[in-house]
């Protein structure tokens, strides 16, 4: 039994380990270890295409995780206080957002937005004052952030709601018995208690957005994010550079995940 578990862990971690190992390869060949060197990290970090893609990925991940955390938390707090058709409608929306395959969300966003933009662009050109170039709506960072935010909002609502459900209601009642306004109760009682969940939701959202390939593939227009860059360079052939990018990406994800995990656990203990 123990041996079996060890085998499964090896299965899970050997491939990642090999990527990390080969990222320190001194040789030019991707599959022959020829001494230790960090030169591929240097090469990667000075490649303007990689840095550009990385910058895009960070902007998209940060913005969409932030929007998703704010709007998702707002919705989760409101959903706790309501019943009836509105509640059912939101439950449905969240269910749909999570259930529909990412690839279908990507496709739908692509053709939905392109269709809407095709209608809006002539209108904008008409309305714009003479002599100025009218703005042209097109697929790019904005559409990608909007698509990620939509999906991640659903994720944040689920996480924050779970935390709210596990919260001790008597604290809120006590607060309002002591004549705190609803806003004061929220700021001084509810928010500190759900904050670890919000932060964990933010970190998970960031990780998801940063690692997402399939939605970005459809929605990013001519912009390149890091996963898109990695995918297209794998298509061109395996190079040690991908190992270096991969190791860094895995490292960053691991760091964020462990932080999120610790936050969720600490938050969980506090309430008990």
């Amino acid at each position: 039994m123990k041996l079996y578990a060890v085998c499964v862990y090896l299965f899970l971690y050997i491939p990642i380990g090999i990527i990390a190992l080969f990222s320190f390869n001194a040789g030019r060949h991707a599959s022959q270890m020829q001494g230790f060197s960090v030169k591929w990290y240097g090469k990667t970090l000075s490649n303007p295409f990689v840095m550009d893609a990385l910058e895009n990925s960070l902007i998209v991940a940060f913005t969409s995780a932030l929007c998703a955390s704010v709007f998702g938390t707002m919705a989760a707090v409101a959903l706790q206080g309501i019943k009836g058709p509105m509640r059912t409608a939101f439950d449905m929306l969240i269910y749909i957002a999570v259930m529909i395959p990412g690839i279908v969300i990507g496709i739908a966003t692509l053709i939905g937005l392109v269709t809407v933009f095709d209608q809006l662009n002539p209108l904008l050109a008409l309305l714009w004052p003479e002599g100025f170039t009218p703005p042209k709506l097109r697929m790019g960072m904005g559409s990608l952030i909007a698509a990620h935010t939509m999906f991640l909002m659903a994720l944040v609502v689920i996480i924050v709601r779970a935390r709210l459900a596990g919260m001790d209601r008597s604290l809120i009642e006590a607060s309002s018995d002591l004549y705190a306004t609803p806003m004061a109760t929220f700021r001084q009682v509810t928010l500190p208690m759900i904050f670890p969940a919000i932060l964990a939701g933010f970190l998970l959202s960031f990780t998801f957005s940063f690692d997402d390939f399939i939605i970005a593939f459809f929605v990013a227009g001519s912009e390149t994010t890091l996963p898109i860059y990695v995918f297209s360079s794998i298509r061109r052939g395996v190079t040690p550079e991908i190992n270096a990018i991969g190791t860094m990406v895995l490292g960053v994800s691991l760091l964020l995940l462990i932080t999120a995990q610790l936050l969720l656990q600490r938050g969980g203990h506090k309430s008990r």
């Binding site: 709007f71 919705a75 939509m150 609502v157 990406v249 995940l257 462990i258």
Partner: protein
């Protein structure tokens, strides 16, 4: 400000966002699937079932998805179950969380990089080269259904372990002791107590993995090398290469419908299974 107004204001941004970025786009896909292809590459709105009647042209993608997704799910279950059992029943509480986190963490890291690792391992200079050294020659692993299955298991194993672990962890260990005190052999205890109690976990795990596999693109694209393709690969081809939006929309709608039907039937089966189990326990 009344409580009602406040709740409405809090829900407004999320609601508007879901409307613009989820409901409208999905509706457009649905409408386009009844349209016709415009010569310029767009869609002419119509009400025809032409796109749907052309679906058999992409039959192979549906067939691959509907065979490899269940097989992959089943293999992941067979590999995950003993590990989940080990973590829930055999490991001390101190190690439990650490070992569990170690299983889940890979799931949240880039599936792209993790599939890439297998291109490396299964490719000509990876495992086939090792087999070559011990005398087994000419083995080709990459770009086969086997490679896709390995990628699937590797990618989704964590998602299978977690729910099974949760259901086994809730199991009252005294039941197992009682069973062995009453003279049951360990395999009898397993079949009559442990396995039935973990069915909700198995059901959740299988459903999560299966749903994600139905829309999979990356794993077959990277490890199947264009020979083993899923519906997801057909969709990328239709929308990004041949730009046939009307037909692509019909394929996408069909994928979602097939998924919904499968999940509904599956849920029915599981709840019936659960119900019959309760009958047994009452007796």
């Amino acid at each position: 400000m009344t409580k009602r107004t406040r709740n409405w204001l809090l829900l407004a941004p999320a609601g508007a966002w879901f409307l613009v970025m989820l409901i409208i786009p999905l509706t457009v896909v649905f409408i386009f699937s009844f349209g016709e292809r415009a010569p310029s590459g767009g869609v002419v709105l119509a009400f025809s079932f032409e796109q749907y009647s052309n679906l058999p042209a992409r039959w192979a993608a549906f067939k691959n998805t509907m065979t490899l997704a269940p097989i992959g799910t089943l293999l992941a279950l067979l590999i995950a179950y003993p590990l989940a059992y080990f973590l829930a029943v055999k490991v001390s509480p101190k190690w439990k969380i650490i070992l569990l986190v170690l299983v889940i963490v890979p799931f949240w890291t880039s599936i792209l990089i993790r599939s890439y690792a297998w291109i490396f391992l299964l490719g000509g200079r990876g495992i086939p080269a090792l087999l070559d050294m011990i005398g087994i020659e000419g083995v080709r692993l990459i770009n086969t259904p086997f490679a896709v299955l390995v990628g699937i298991i590797y990618g989704y194993l964590p998602l299978m372990v977690f729910p099974i672990f949760v259901s086994l962890d809730k199991l009252d260990k005294r039941l197992l002791e009682a069973s062995s005190d009453l003279g049951a052999k360990s395999w009898q205890t397993f079949l009559q107590i442990t396995l039935p109690m973990s069915i909700p976990g198995i059901a959740t795990g299988c459903m999560l993995v299966f749903i994600l596999l139905m829309g999979e693109y990356l794993i077959p694209a990277m490890l199947g090398g264009g020979k083993v393709f899923f519906v997801g690969n057909a969709l990328v081809d239709l929308f990004l290469q041949s730009r046939n939006w009307a037909y692509g929309s019909a394929v996408a709608v069909t994928l979602v419908v097939v998924m919904l039907i499968t999940v509904t039937v599956y849920m029915r089966l599981i709840s019936r299974l659960g119900a019959s189990r309760e009958d047994v326990s009452i007796m």
